[in-house]
């Protein structure tokens, strides 16, 4: 799964776009960082490995005026489909370089395994093993043990939309019914247990808004109602009800739009399961409207439309 084929494709793509967004190595071998390529000599910087965690599709709405090439994994590709559904990009101005993906790492999980030692080298072996070198020695990990949760139920390892594919397509071996198992399990808890759980999680939130900033579907960015003073939805007070309210804003604005890329959870410095409420909403959207975000460009997000006779919504009695 070397980047050679990808570099070839990008060399071609670069001829008729303004910029190509890919990955290059960050400050150490465990970190990749997005790179914006507009000159052929930059192509050598491009990397592809399981440390390429960021969802690069997130940059597309802000680059709408340009013709852009973008490297996407299977999960990231759903963002593009969702943007198409919502009219947030002009598909004819985007060239999608898809990478069939067998899973990425969670940088946090790897660092935990090596006791947060400085990283000297990271090598990915063909059998899925990862060798991490630190001053304390070499640690052998398996990709499955240090992958983010989203990889364990990924149904779309091959991008759902692409113009070029950098490797042979991969079929998912995961069961669709497992995707929302965590949601269903949580629903088995009592009301009180659930309340205590969320209060404990949200109480840690420092409202840095990293989750919102990283979210590809949080397209309002600086106009976010979490920060506006008029209307003043939430104050600057650091109490639980304000934090709770912020998470309700993020969740409800994502209802039936979250592509489950997991960026929100990846960037949270407090380890809050930010994606969990959106997964619950997606679970309901599937049950109510048989809708799954970011899969079919022809679909309409369920909150953007209605049926006169809603088959699955029953009147609530008092």
């Amino acid at each position: 799964m070397g980047p050679e084929k990808m570099k070839e494709i990008i060399t071609d793509v670069l001829k008729d776009v303004d910029v190509v967004i890919g990955y290059k190595q960050g400050f150490d071998k465990l970190h990749a960082t997005p790179c914006f390529i507009n000159k052929a000599e930059q192509i050598e910087e491009i990397i592809w490995s399981p440390v390429c965690v960021q969802n690069l599709a997130s940059f597309l709405p802000s680059l709408k005026a340009k013709k852009v090439g973008v490297v996407v994994k299977g999960c990231d590709s759903r963002t593009i489909v969702q943007y198409m559904q919502e009219g947030l990009i002009d598909r004819s101005k985007v060239v999608v370089v898809g990478i069939p993906c067998t899973g990425v790492v969670s940088v946090k999980k790897v660092l935990d395994k090596v006791n947060h030692q400085p990283i000297e080298d990271v090598v990915f072996e063909a059998d899925g093993a990862i060798l991490v070198k630190t001053p304390a020695g070499e640690t052998k990990l398996s990709l499955a043990d240090v992958s983010p949760d989203k990889c364990s139920t990924c149904l779309y390892p091959t991008p759902v939309v692409y113009d070029h594919l950098a490797a042979e397509p991969i079929k998912s071996v995961k069961a669709p019914e497992d995707v929302y198992k965590d949601v269903e399990e949580f629903e088995g808890k009592s009301l009180e247990e659930r309340k205590v759980y969320w209060e404990k999680e949200f109480d840690r939130c420092i409202r840095c808004y990293a989750c919102r900033n990283a979210c590809p579907m949080c397209v309002c960015q600086d106009s976010c109602i979490a920060e506006s003073r008029d209307p003043h939805w939430i104050s600057q007070k650091s109490n639980l009800s304000e934090k709770f309210m912020f998470h309700m804003i993020h969740s409800i604005h994502l209802a039936g739009r979250c592509v489950e890329c997991g960026e929100c959870e990846r960037v949270c410095p407090m380890g809050i399961p930010v994606n969990a409420l959106k997964k619950k909403l997606n679970h309901d959207m599937k049950a109510l409207y048989n809708y799954e975000p970011g899969v079919n460009p022809e679909d309409k997000p369920p909150m953007y439309t209605f049926s006169v006779e809603e088959k699955k919504i029953e009147e609530h009695k008092l």
Binding site: R194, S241, I249, K280
Partner: protein
């Protein structure tokens, strides 16, 4: 009103201008007895009710929230209540996931002529909230904004 506990609870009602607010008015003009825990906020249309209004109310001191609009197909703006139905149902299913009893939130459709239906809805919902009791303990700091 004997079934209602003497202490009032805080219930917020979002009613659309064209049907449900009219229905509440009809009930008032007809002098139907109603519990007095409900504070009504008139909105142009049930489609104006952002689910976050309901969350905000519940987080900041309300013990229950009632939303009522025109019957489906009778919306003054043609399809506002169709959108509302999807949003409100979404919230109805989300609340229990957060540990908030979904019985604290009810949405329904009442026309301007249905004074009796309004009376019954308010009475039943108020009773339901009284059965659940206050959402916030008095010591909790829910000072809001």
């Amino acid at each position: 009103m004997s079934e209602i506990a003497p202490k009032e609870l805080r219930i917020v009602g979002f009613l659309c201008n064209w049907c449900s607010y009219g229905g509440a008015d009809t009930a008032g003009v007809s002098r139907f007895r109603q519990p007095t825990d409900l504070r009504i906020i008139r909105v142009p249309c049930s489609g104006r009710v952002d689910p976050l209004f309901i969350v905000k109310a519940l987080l900041n001191g309300a013990d229950g929230v009632l939303v009522s609009g025109c019957h489906p197909r009778d919306c003054h703006y043609t399809d506002g209540n169709f959108y509302a139905r999807r949003r409100l149902e979404m919230l109805k299913q989300l609340l229990p996931y957060l540990g908030i009893d979904e019985k604290r939130f009810h949405y329904t459709w009442i026309s301007a002529s249905e004074g009796q239906r309004w009376q019954k809805t308010v009475t039943d919902f108020t009773n339901q909230i009284h059965k659940l009791g206050p959402l916030h303990s008095t010591t909790e700091a829910h000072s809001g904004s």
